[in-house]
């Protein structure tokens, strides 16, 4: 774990409080799996201690050449994954609008037919022998990231008798502190399934859903190669330590 962002003093402020009305509630019975998996007692609120303010760092040196290229990272030499070729790019920011440098972005998704390479996924759609479904990258100094993949398919899932997930890519983000950790999903502009999806609809605020919908960006699209979708991710901001009580030993 190297690459410690040498030109920036590390920040040590507490993260801004999460807005519980913005995130989906733990118990959201329209998404049936939450019913037995949602804590029922109130969480104990805790202003961040050093255990939440700190977090691991991931160095660019750990990345392989094809980690950010899901079209090729599981494919046989000379072959590529089947499906609409796309680039997904954007910035990881925090709530203050600052780019988050060195953030680990891990993604996973179904193939173009809507099938996951997972032993528990029995959907009829065929597996693509050249598509694994995982990718990762680390943001640059300004918080930018990009990866190449194929557009995943929509797929049915056993929540209701005829429920389909919109096309989506799962994102896991590691910012600078363990309390900034976030998992979410990216949806595609114009997909009519978004507004029917019980998982999307666990989010109470339409503006929060809009924030998970990536836009087609023709300017970033590579002619005769791949369309581009822009997806920015916002992590919790953090307080300046200027007037904070200093932690013991600082």
């Amino acid at each position: 774990m190297t690459d410690r962002r040498p030109n920036r003093a590390p920040e040590t402020g507490s993260f801004f409080q999460r807005d519980p009305l913005w995130h989906p509630p733990a118990f959201a019975p329209g998404y049936k799996s939450t019913v037995l998996r949602s804590p029922r007692k109130a969480p104990i609120s805790l202003d961040n201690t050093i255990s939440e303010i700190t977090g691991p760092v991931f160095g660019h040196s750990m990345l392989g050449d094809l980690d950010d290229d899901m079209i090729h990272n599981f494919a046989k030499p000379g072959e590529s994954a089947i499906g609409p070729r796309i680039i997904v790019y954007g910035r990881v920011l925090d709530e203050r609008g600052k780019g988050v440098a060195g953030a680990l972005v891990e993604v996973w998704q179904a193939n173009a037919g809507g099938r996951y390479r997972h032993k528990r996924d029995g959907y009829l759609a065929a597996l693509d022998p050249n598509f694994g479904g995982c990718g990762r990258t680390i943001t640059d100094e300004d918080g930018n990231y990009a990866f190449r993949t194929i557009q995943p398919g929509a797929y049915p899932w056993p929540n209701g008798p005829n429920e389909w997930r919109p096309q989506h890519i799962h994102f896991s983000i590691f910012g600078h502190g363990f309390a900034q950790r976030l998992i979410t999903q990216m949806y595609f502009e114009g997909d009519p399934l978004i507004w029917k999806c019980p998982i999307v609809r666990t989010i109470p605020d339409k503006a929060a859903i809009d924030g998970l919908i990536a836009l087609l960006d023709m300017n970033a699209t590579i002619p005769m190669d791949a369309r581009a979708y822009k997806f920015d991710i916002v992590l919790r901001g953090r307080r300046s330590t200027m007037f904070e009580n200093r932690l013991e030993g600082n």
Binding site: Y31, T34, S38, G64, L93, L212, E248
Partner: protein, 204 residues
């Protein structure tokens, strides 16, 4: 018109879903050859300072069934009570200890497992020492926003009794839900999502 704070809103969380292992532990999910190893599987090496321990347990849903598709991450200080993080300003942590681990729950038994060391004590915001603890983060299908909790050590009775975070818990009969039991070098920390034994979760 007043000025605007211009703060952005955090991206809304969405469940990690049933296939989280494809993305975060692909080798465990049998997707080989993309990454050399799954991240977070090795926290220690032969030179790591501190007492070697195993931390293991299961996560139970509201019906008492162990969850077999979860992903657990932990974060902890080294044996001297320092975090291996750029935001650690009190000193330099043990370079042979990452402090961070990631493990899936076993697809058959539901057990997660970490090979780690017992952490030292770190200070609370006001300088009082907290008892040794491990921060837990749990993602799974049916969990809309990953859950945060802490594991404390059953053999640290005195430190636990003066821990300022444990002291914050109003219902004292819930405190034992955060304390792992020791047997040899293994600490067992079971997590209950609901019911009489529901684990205390933190809004951090």
């Amino acid at each position: 018109m007043t000025q605007s704070l211009s703060h952005l809103k955090e991206s809304a969380s969405q469940t990690a879903g049933p296939y989280v292992h494809i993305g975060l532990t692909p080798n465990f999910a049998d997707i080989k050859g993309v990454y050399p190893a799954d991240l977070g599987t090795a926290m220690v090496d032969e030179k790591t300072k501190g007492e070697r321990i195993t931390v293991t347990g299961r996560i139970f849903d509201g019906s008492g069934t162990p969850i077999r598709d979860a992903l657990v991450e932990i974060w902890q200080a080294d044996a001297a009570g320092l975090y291996n993080s750029p935001s650690e300003t009190r000193g330099s942590a043990d370079l042979h200890f990452t402090g961070w681990g990631r493990a899936p729950t076993d697809m058959e038994t539901g057990y997660y497992r970490f090979e780690t060391i017992k952490p030292g004590r770190v200070p609370f915001r006001d300088g009082r020492l907290m008892a040794p603890h491990v921060t837990f983060w749990i993602a799974a299908r049916g969990i809309n926003l990953a859950l945060s909790t802490r594991m404390y050590f059953g053999d640290e009775e005195k430190a636990n009794a003066e821990d300022p975070v444990l002291a914050r818990i109003e219902h004292r009969n819930r405190v034992p839900s955060l304390i792992a039991t020791r047997e040899g070098s293994t600490f067992t920390f079971d997590i209950y999502l609901q019911g009489d034994k529901e684990t205390v979760f933190f809004d951090i």
